[in-house]
Symmetry: C2
Subunit: 376 residues, 2 copies
């Protein structure tokens, strides 16, 4: 009896720390822990042994005291739910040291169900009317500014030709600039600048909000004329992003912000790889752009970490479109050539404070930023 299991499986690759015996035992443990959560001897039903248990497809040494195990799971145990998929990939074993989720491979049947980004790179370029060059992004801050002052900043950024002008991810429902007033004013300011320049800048408000309210904010952002939204999946859950990316009444691009996700990547031996967390998972859950801390900025990501994220944003995933890697965080205009060399043209460059400190003339700084990415 197959008990309704069709035999199709998805695969996760785990990095396991330790000697070969320890790492192999850990791979065997994952097969139980992530599925039946029982000791092997207590799994007596034949269909569960055959279909439900995780299965080691491959186990190989990749470095001193480092092994990779490819473990497959029946597609049915994820039940086409992103929440249960996350649980199978890394739920309980997140609590066991020495295991890092490196990547996953889903069969077409699952990728079709999850769908991924609504737009992805190609359609985002169409929306922003930027066919070739890197896209430019900046952030409205600091928190504490009144809505009218935030809108004035947005106006200047748009006048200078920045494509995406996003809220700082800390702008929520603070009394100094409540969501509706902020969105209304910023949308108007950016439209006014676009009229002056003939450009196509867009405003992206932060819709990260308590459960239930993020959806209302998303629809309100669209109604008021925002061009995209910012969301922190580490705070609201990847599932909220997926819901928005698939909702028929909401059809704006989503920029994923990495707040609260750092603990998954700070330890090499635990957590989730940069490739998987910021690339694959963001993408599967419907982000159109993945913001992450650039190497050499005020965060600690290495150049290799950043390259891995770019790969995760672009690697073949069936119907799930590639998305824009969006390096950010403490970058200066002076570093744009180095970043262009590393990231090429298929990237969104997000520069916040660096756009303010270059010279006192914000509009001129933005134009300089734009020239730098156009003329390389």
């Amino acid at each position: 009896m197959s008990f309704g299991f069709g035999g199709e499986r998805f695969v996760a690759t785990y990095r396991l720390a330790g000697d070969e015996a320890k790492a192999y035992a850990q791979a065997q443990d994952i097969c139980l822990e992530q599925t039946v959560e029982l000791p092997d001897a207590l799994v007596t039903q034949q269909h569960i042994r055959e279909h439900v248990l995780g299965r080691i497809e491959n186990f190989a040494r990749v470095d001193d005291q480092v092994y990779h195990a490819r473990i497959s799971y029946a597609v049915e145990i994820a039940a086409n739910e992103i929440t249960q998929l996350l649980n199978v990939l890394f739920g309980n074993i997140s609590l066991k040291p020495g295991i890092r989720l490196e990547k996953f491979e889903l069969p077409a049947s699952m990728l079709e169900k999850f769908r991924g980004p609504r737009f992805g790179k190609t359609r985002l370029r169409e929306i922003f009317k930027v066919p070739e060059r890197p896209l430019l992004c900046t952030a409205l801050k600091p928190l504490g500014l009144l809505a009218r002052d935030i809108a004035e900043l947005a106006y200047q950024f748009a006048l200078g030709g920045v494509d995406i002008i996003k809220d700082d991810h800390g702008l929520a429902e603070q009394h100094t600039a409540e969501f509706n007033e902020r969105v209304e004013r910023c949308v108007q300011a950016v439209a006014r600048a676009n009229q002056a320049t003939g450009g196509n800048s867009m405003y992206a408000p932060n819709i990260t909000a308590p459960s239930g309210y993020e959806y209302g904010s998303a629809l309100e952002a669209k109604r008021l004329g925002a061009g995209a939204v910012l969301l922190c999946p580490g705070i609201v859950g990847l599932s909220v992003m997926q819901m928005l990316a698939n909702d028929a009444d909401f059809d704006l691009p989503i920029l994923a912000h990495p707040a609260f996700q750092g603990s998954f990547v700070t330890a090499r031996e635990n957590g989730i790889s940069h490739f998987c967390l910021f690339g694959q998972l963001n993408r599967l859950a419907g982000a159109d752009a993945a913001i992450f801390p650039n190497f050499g900025g005020r965060f600690s990501f290495s150049q290799d970490d950043c390259r891995a994220i770019v790969e995760g944003c672009n690697i073949e995933m069936g119907n799930v479109a590639p998305i824009f890697p969006t390096p950010a965080g403490g970058m200066s205009l002076e570093r744009v050539p180095e970043m262009r060399a590393m990231y090429g043209r298929d990237v969104i460059f997000l520069i916040g404070a660096g756009l303010r400190s270059h010279s006192p003339d914000l509009v001129a700084n933005c134009r300089y930023f734009r020239e730098m990415v156009e003329n390389v």
Copy 2:
């Protein structure tokens, strides 16, 4: 001008790794990073400097290369949103190594807004009619069983006197035991056992589900007669738990499961302390019981980690009621005396596989479990 800031502040304590100069610089950086996200020189508005910037209230050495900084923030910047509170406490700095969030202290005005658990320890004891002894909990598994077989397990656990019979957190919408059928059958099975024993066992289904569906599952669980629910805040977000704990149409106790949260606590120098993550944050977000891996089981928590969680479940937090620490994970009945000695009576003991392997007679094992916690 105060710009509407009242002067009230909340406090977070961070553990900082490094020598004194490095740790102090990191404390200063947190004050900027978690609020304005700009270099100090770019923060020109006086009201923002005075109210919005984080402020080091205290900085002290606690060990070799370890410092604690108490940093305060204006209550207004959290905007009474749990999502933005999480962001201020640990959003961007989760991406900076060497910083761990140890604990937080919120003024009464914030605690009243967040409310915390609907029930808490005292009211949970009333609901379960267990005035003094530790409560007993077990898990329905493995994933892959048909709903009728899961219900038969539930029946036997209830017949044996286990108070809370919860779904394994991996039971979602799999075809082998879909939510509605599973809940209906298990509720009926537990009711049948209660009739036989005169007891008060309750079934707690897993309502972890994609965004939007968790609320429907919660209401459905209540409608079908479940006594509590299980939720994984690490997967759906703490904010979903808070929404449920405050929703007028849903009024069941919530057991918080730690799946996907392990990466916050696997590195001593990064992430969030056990006390804060499993204790304070679960509680603030409305859990009535916090499940965590017991020391000496198949996970890696130490006895001190577990003690810290108990403290976080019980420490004074104004109107936010204390909740039940719920140690679990690879425990055997033989360890109950040791656990009683450590946890005392105000605890829920969650034993899964250990209840199956003690002897072939499941009902007898449960009765033995119950006797062990009653007669100490």
